[in-house]
Symmetry: C2
């Protein structure tokens, strides 16, 4: 890794730069690119299936309102011809790239401007030679270059795909992005915090907690202390509830249904022909409580977004970016072209950008902005409505850091740890350590050595990259002493503070459902300002920080642009909860 302080300027000079003279109106000059034959790039899903027949039934049984079938709209209309209607997409993130492909399908003349020298935005995978640039608070910048062995990679942005993110999965299967299971949790994963500084296994913490909970409830019910609360259950059901609890918590029938430990937490001793599975002594409830693990994402794998079966693209998350770019004809994207001004005129929008040190501009009929809204806020704008400017000014992104390591031995897969994929959680600055869900049983591997948020992210991001690595190494050694050995976990670690990456503003948008102003801002951005300027991306979606949100937003914006009379942009009264969903 190399770290240099240098004056801040165009951060990642790239290769694919097309020189453009000033103020070329891109629409009228260039003919519409021929649209590839075949099915529409956008195949609508027949049903998301998230609401099952069973929950529908339950709703009817419980008297709740019946679920709306709410199938996604199918596009049955024949493709329109729009000679010369021009769209400029600002930002080659997942949302921008997807919108561009769909708008090309719809017959628009589309160009994409990307401030950085690469596409993908936060979908960013490090490999040998990848450069990570950050702009420091003081004004300078740092550049790290990844020196992992060839063949190794680490996802610095999104790293996993939930099974119910159907747009992402559909896109990958349609475009040939190979997917493999991403293991979110192995019960061999560890928890570091409390317990006299001895890291615990996930299986111990999870199942001993579960056992204590079940035993306490079994006791309360058995002693008749919940008679009122259980009045809806008949005597037979109450008896069956006790049986459920015995199984739920693996209670000890031989000891009055206490929780005396469970083989779910592992075995007391290694097995032999004369040593059979026996539970280890359980962690006392008080020590579990004192450890406070549940405050540190330990239960994330139970939440819908992280439930199995998750997937990852084989070879790196940016395979999705590659496939998105491959859907666009050559030359549609201009890299290293940061936007400097956006002027909404009467029926057009003029966009000005920098390109190889020069200023260029174009007037187009529509602008679709995939620029992170806080970055957009810093761009000179005229002709916007005051409501829209207010909305843009309102939006914040959250800070987050990741650290990546190359390990020359997959020590976590050895007989001591037996860890294959998943995440170990800690109560300190690194928050978590990821083990690779690929290339099991091989020699080397990469690990995510920190992935944090909020104050932890600010603190880690404020450090110089070498200091971040030292801190992360020390913290991870609480999980595995092997982290202290630089011949095992190499010195060529890499770090990224997303809130300091140029043109990114942070890891994902911050929406707080308790803030009524947020709902106004969100609703405002669901409509195009002056009918011409659209915002796209996971930043205006129900899934902040998730690629599914970006694809959903792109679909929405394309629908809005192609059929403006079809529906009134919706108004929301409450925004999504970014904190609960942060990726």
């Amino acid at each position: 890794m190399s770290t240099t302080d240098k004056p801040s300027e165009d951060p990642t000079p790239g290769e694919a730069v097309t020189s453009a003279p000033d103020a070329t109106p891109i629409g009228p000059v260039e003919p519409v690119e021929p649209v590839a034959a075949g099915p529409s790039r956008r195949r609508f899903l027949s049903a998301l299936g998230a609401v099952t027949a069973s929950s529908a039934l339950l709703q009817s049984m419980t008297g709740a309102a019946p679920v709306e079938a709410a199938p996604l709209r199918r596009r049955n209309t024949p493709r329109k011809v729009r000679n010369g209607e021009t769209v400029l997409v600002l930002g080659a993130g997942v949302g921008g790239l997807s919108a561009a492909a769909q708008l090309l399908d719809e017959g628009y003349d589309v160009k994409v401007l990307e401030a950085l020298g690469r596409p993908g935005g936060r979908n960013f995978t490090a490999r040998n030679g990848t450069k990570v640039v950050e702009v420091l608070k003081g004004g300078g910048s740092t550049e790290q270059e990844c020196t992992f062995d060839k063949g190794l990679y680490l996802n610095l942005g999104p790293g996993r795909i939930p099974y119910h993110h159907r747009r992402v999965i559909e896109f990958c299967t349609r475009t040939g992005v190979a997917l493999e299971p991403y293991i979110m949790e192995s019960t061999a994963n560890r928890w570091a915090g409390g317990f006299d500084s001895v890291a615990q296994t996930n299986r111990g913490v999870a199942n001993d907690t579960r056992g204590h909970v079940a035993a306490l409830l079994h006791q309360a019910i058995r002693k008749g202390k919940l008679a009122n609360e259980l009045s809806l259950l008949d005597a037979g059901q109450q008896k069956r509830l006790l049986e459920l609890l015995v199984k739920f918590g693996d209670l000890d029938r031989g000891h009055n249904y206490a929780y005396t430990g469970s083989t779910r937490s592992g075995y007391r001793k290694p097995l032999a022909v004369d040593i059979f599975p026996e539970p280890p002594p359980p962690a006392p409830l008080a020590e579990l409580i004192d450890a406070g693990f549940w405050d540190h994402q330990f239960y994330n794998p139970v939440d819908f977004l992280w439930q199995g079966t998750m997937f990852q693209p084989v070879g790196g998350m940016d395979k999705i970016v590659d496939a998105l770019v491959a859907e666009l004809p050559d030359g549609v994207i201009t890299y290293n072209a940061p936007v400097t001004a956006i002027d909404i005129l009467d029926d057009r929008v003029r966009v000005t950008w920098k390109e190889v040190g020069q200023t260029a501009s174009a007037e187009v009929q529509h602008v679709v902005s995939n620029i992170p809204v806080p970055v957009l806020a810093g761009i000179r704008k005229t002709g916007f409505s005051s409501n829209y400017l207010k909305a843009i000014g309102f939006v914040q992104f959250d800070p987050s850091c990741k650290v990546g390591w190359q390990a020359d031995k997959r020590f976590w897969e050895n007989d001591e740890y037996q860890i294959y994929g998943g995440i170990s959680w800690t109560n300190d600055i690194i928050n978590q350590v990821w083990y690779p869900s690929n290339d099991y049983f091989t020699g080397k591997g990469t690990m995510t050595g920190a992935y944090n948020f909020d104050a932890d992210a600010i603190k880690l991001g404020d450090m110089a990259p070498p200091d971040r690595l030292e801190v992360a190494r020390e913290s991870a050694a609480r999980l595995h002493p092997e982290f202290a050995d630089k011949t095992v976990v190499l010195p060529n670690g890499l770090s990224i503070a997303w809130h300091q990456v140029p043109y990114q503003a942070g890891v994902s948008v911050h929406w707080n459902p308790a803030d009524p102003d947020a709902a106004v801002a969100y609703s405002t951005m669901l409509s195009p300002d002056q009918g011409l300027f659209y915002v796209v991306g996971d930043q205006v979606s129900p899934l902040p920080g998730w690629q599914e949100g970006a694809l959903m937003s792109a679909e929405y914006v394309v629908d809005l642009m192609t059929d403006p009379e079809r529906r009134e942009p919706p108004v929301v009264h409450r925004v999504p909860d970014s904190r609960a969903m942060r990726p």
Copy 2:
């Protein structure tokens, strides 16, 4: 699939038959096979790691006895030369094959007799052309031939490897058996039973139960009803316990910590730019109780044996058998050679078997029997001690059936179901349906359409194969109506009733820890009878039905044979609980 009734005889005539004259003493006649150079085939594990430092610490904190370090013995002695010492291994199951390889390493002259025309025993994978033979109660037999499309396979025996079965994992990595994750549970899996006959998602059943449990306990604690039970917790800890419960069950802070549903169970409606994640209405506790899901293996994935990350060999579990066989020199195994008599003589054992219709026999210094003990019980024997005969007569195997399907569409991966691997559970005869943990997003796939035990297995096994398929199809249609469509789930299903497969006796040994006679039988078989006759296999191991048990038993028997003075065979006072561990 073809099913024929025909007279019972040698069930699977194979190709590799070597004619042998009667009563050839194999030891003295044939020279010792040269032993391959290189490290011993058996690499001992440095530590099983099942008991972690943390549980050791907990034990010391809780005053429990300290954990024995109990490392597996390392073999440091140089390899012995045993000119002409002969061993006959009976049965080419995983335990027999592993023992044979190790004994060859130890310098013995080893031969293996296998009753069937293939190695592997219950490690049996069906592909196009595989024949499944059963002997019926009435005396006839059936033969099914697998007609799955080429490239498809289905494991009819073991199908998954726990991460802590270190011998199996070490063997696979050392011999190049490629492993891929076996997904034991996806929260998109289903449960069929109760709920007005509407199949539920795993996530709904699991998380709504968890929520109700947490809410009831929260209530009891909040109301001070568990003051005595919580007296070991100080006030701060009791408050923290309430916070833990809120997270544990996803309780509703806005509704007095009731359980009002959770997005862990899915979303109420498919998301859109203006529709955010909201919990579906929860299943009422009474309906969860009435469904009785916990009585039907729903919580198996929580148990240590099925905790993630599990693995399966790429291409079929019998890749392990292939690798075991590849460790033996050509000609060591004789197939289609069922043993008909075992006579323990003064210092030798005479084994008699059938081979291409003739009778053959050999006298050897040691016999290692991997024959399922109930099958061994039916073989004519002389010279055995009465205790040993009693032990052999005591052992029973459990019945079990599997059904396999070829599906021409992976409908379970569609937008409605979103299932990738894992198991759906039912409360009827099929017990479970497995989805493939491989070749996701492709066209076709195989499914395990039943895997049952006890009375269900007897009942299904008593049916003719076509009837089993009809019953299994109907039952699986409770999970997925697609099962009723024979163009989707093809008519070429396959079934196996392990208790009717010749020379197998059942799916795995039945040990009941409550039976004191069982401990006597088990202990007896840990010693060689007359110092000459050994029993090997998962049948005499702490892991009945698991390949790890077979490998552990093989290690044990080899150690016993090579260093008979080294340790006294142990005596157990309680057998493993087969029912809790059945694979």
